[in-house]
């Protein structure tokens, strides 16, 4: 497998009235072609901001760290995403090589323009294409994602479709430009379970067919287990655990990941009481010193936890964790 994306030391802060707020701190990961990576964390963990950084989509007040690098390997060569400035250059990552699916499909489609027109518009923006050719591709894509009467749906507005259909149309639109990387930001969260199962199935088929890389942002570990090859767990802007999906879910190492998994209600053991991770995620304005998780951690090993940020520890089998517990074992 060849590399598709390299993120190195990504640090992202926002300039606000209350000062600089750190949203993402020193995050590095890479993704291969055809690989599905889950990005997991609760609200405020920085997962969406990280994904938006890949498309250089964050607001104007975003400040990137000096050694932050995002490199995208496309067929035309390497693209240094963070150095792109003009809208024309940015087209490569916005809808060209990278597409994004959002959580709320109703909010992502323009309400007063037909779905078809929106699809044609973006195809023409990204490729040398006639209107008729773009329409043909759009209808084909709508059909491919399981929308019945695709040519009729093409002329409908977003409000005329049901929630599941809208999300399918969103996926069709995102894939019509044949992106190398698809970012799916909580694509199934707003859907009912039965529809979620359909959309997950569809996405699995599309990975096999189009062989693109996917970054799947979600807070639902069940969805991750069903779709992803690898998982990155984020907490308060930090990557705290990373590894193959089987490893991380069956053998979680970071106290936060462990807490997340034991907080999930499981159907095979109804007698097990639910244990919440104590406390709440701190506000980004009050980032705790040392390990960002120390305010909620039940396994503090010493003063290091509250003073020194833990480094990533390689646990073998491609599994890394940023926690002081494991550093001590390694030394």
């Amino acid at each position: 497998m060849s590399a598709l994306l390299d993120v190195k030391n990504l640090t992202l802060q926002f300039r606000t009235d209350e000062g600089l707020i750190t949203a993402v701190e020193d995050v590095s990961f890479s993704l291969n072609k055809g690989e599905v990576m889950g990005l997991v964390g609760e609200s405020g963990s920085g997962k969406s901001v990280t994904a938006k950084a890949l498309m250089h989509l964050n607001a104007r007040n975003a400040v990137y760290g000096p050694d932050s690098r995002i490199t995208l390997h496309t067929e035309q060569g390497e693209v240094d995403v963070l150095s792109l400035r003009t809208p024309r250059d940015l087209k490569v990552v916005r809808g060209g090589a990278i597409s994004m699916i959002f959580q709320e499909p109703m909010a992502s489609f323009a309400p007063a323009i037909t779905i078809g027109k929106q699809m044609v518009e973006q195809l023409q923006l990204h490729g040398d294409m006639s209107k008729a050719g773009a329409k043909e591709i759009s209808v084909e894509m709508l059909d491919r994602v399981g929308i019945s009467d695709a040519s009729q749906r093409f002329d409908q507005y977003a409000f005329e479709l049901s929630g599941g259909m809208r999300q399918r149309a969103m996926i069709a639109m995102a894939l019509s430009t044949k992106p190398a990387l698809l970012i799916a930001d909580e694509p199934t969260t707003a859907l009912d379970v039965t529809i979620q199962a359909q959309v997950i199935d569809l996405m699995k088929d599309l990975v096999d067919e189009f062989h693109m890389g996917i970054i799947f942002i979600t807070h639902d570990l069940g969805v991750v287990a069903q779709t992803c090859d690898r998982v990155n767990v984020m907490y308060l802007g930090r990557l705290i655990e990373e590894g193959p999906v089987r490893e991380v879910i069956r053998n979680p190492k970071h106290p936060y990941t462990q807490g997340l998994i034991s907080a999930l209600p499981k159907l095979d053991n109804l007698d097990q009481s639910l244990t919440a991770v104590p406390g709440d995620i701190p506000s980004p304005l009050e980032r705790p010193p040392g390990c960002v998780f120390n305010t909620r951690c039940s396994q503090i090993v010493g003063a290091a936890c509250t003073t020194i940020g833990p480094n990533e520890v390689d646990l073998g089998a491609d599994h890394t964790v940023a926690c002081h517990i494991y550093k001590e074992v390694a030394e």
């Binding site: 609760e42 609200s43 049901s162 929630g163 599941g164 259909m165 009912d192 379970v193 039965t194 529809i195 979620q196 199962a197 359909q198 997950i200 199935d201 699995k204 807070h219 639902d220 570990l221 069940g222 969805v223 287990a225 069903q226 999906v245 089987r246 879910i249 069956r250 807490g259 997340l260 998994i261 907080a263 999930l264 209600p265 499981k266 159907l267 109804l270 009481s273 639910l274 244990t275 919440a276 991770v277 104590p278 709440d280 995620i281």
Partner: protein, 331 residues
Amino acid sequence: MNGPLIRAENLSVGFPIGKGLFDKFVLKAVDDVTLHIDKGSFFGLVGESGSGKTTLGRALLKAVPITGGSAHYADGEVAYDLETIGKADLKDYRKRAQLIFQDPYAALSPRMTVRDIIAEPLEVMGLTRNRQETDERVRETAAKCRLNLEHLRRFPHAFSGGQRQRISIARALVSGPKLVVADESVAALDVSIQADVLNLLKELQRDLGITFMFISHDLSVVAHTCDHVAVMYLGRLVETAPTRQLFAAPRHPYTKALFSAIPSLDPDDRGRAQKLEGEIPSPMKQPSGCKFHTRCPYVIDRCKVEEPRLQSSAAEHNVACHRWEELLQNA
């Protein structure tokens, strides 16, 4: 358990749609529902969006008009017929039946302190004689929901989602209700704190003997908290049973499909789900016969014309399906 707190018989809620004299149409959001909720129990109501679960909850709170059938409330002190309840009695009923909303960010006024938010029901209903008494009640209730004095002085924006939901719970509890309808009360929370709120609700049920009607689309949450579950589809109850029995041996094809659509946490357990085609039909265009026949994998001609009645299949286990016995034998 000592008898039912709520008894609904053939309860229907319809909303008239269309303005003209001839195009009047009644949308039946809740259709012919018969159920009872035992005192002190945790009653779960599940279904997809559009199934009418919220409307049913509101009807039992007398927050929407009941258009057919009857609903009775009896807590040992008073007994009300919710359909014909008078103004004075309704005032008393509001004290006894309360609601917790889904979104703790939208449900709390940003301009009121937490103390004022919790005290408001007391003041509106005139339940306390003076400020001192109000303060005492507020403090007492807040303590039950693990909020301290310091919290009471602040405004909602200073709190995280989990804490806000505890404030909403305190507000619902302050009037000393016997019945609390919790409508998707943990759906907006992160998994790591969701367990905390669920445990709090269970504690309140145990310690204060409050009866909960817990409306949710998340089956694993329902499995872990509820004693009894009712499954709704397009305004109708399709199956009701004690939680364990329902999860061990679901009888209705819709319930089975719902269960298998839950993404499994086991990465090796992929694609096993029994997929349900299509989506829940619009309540404006309800199918004839069994409402589920358009999506049911076991549909026969009879299902398309004759609507199945909720019938007893085992002790307290009711199912509305023509073929449940047959399917049970073939399983």
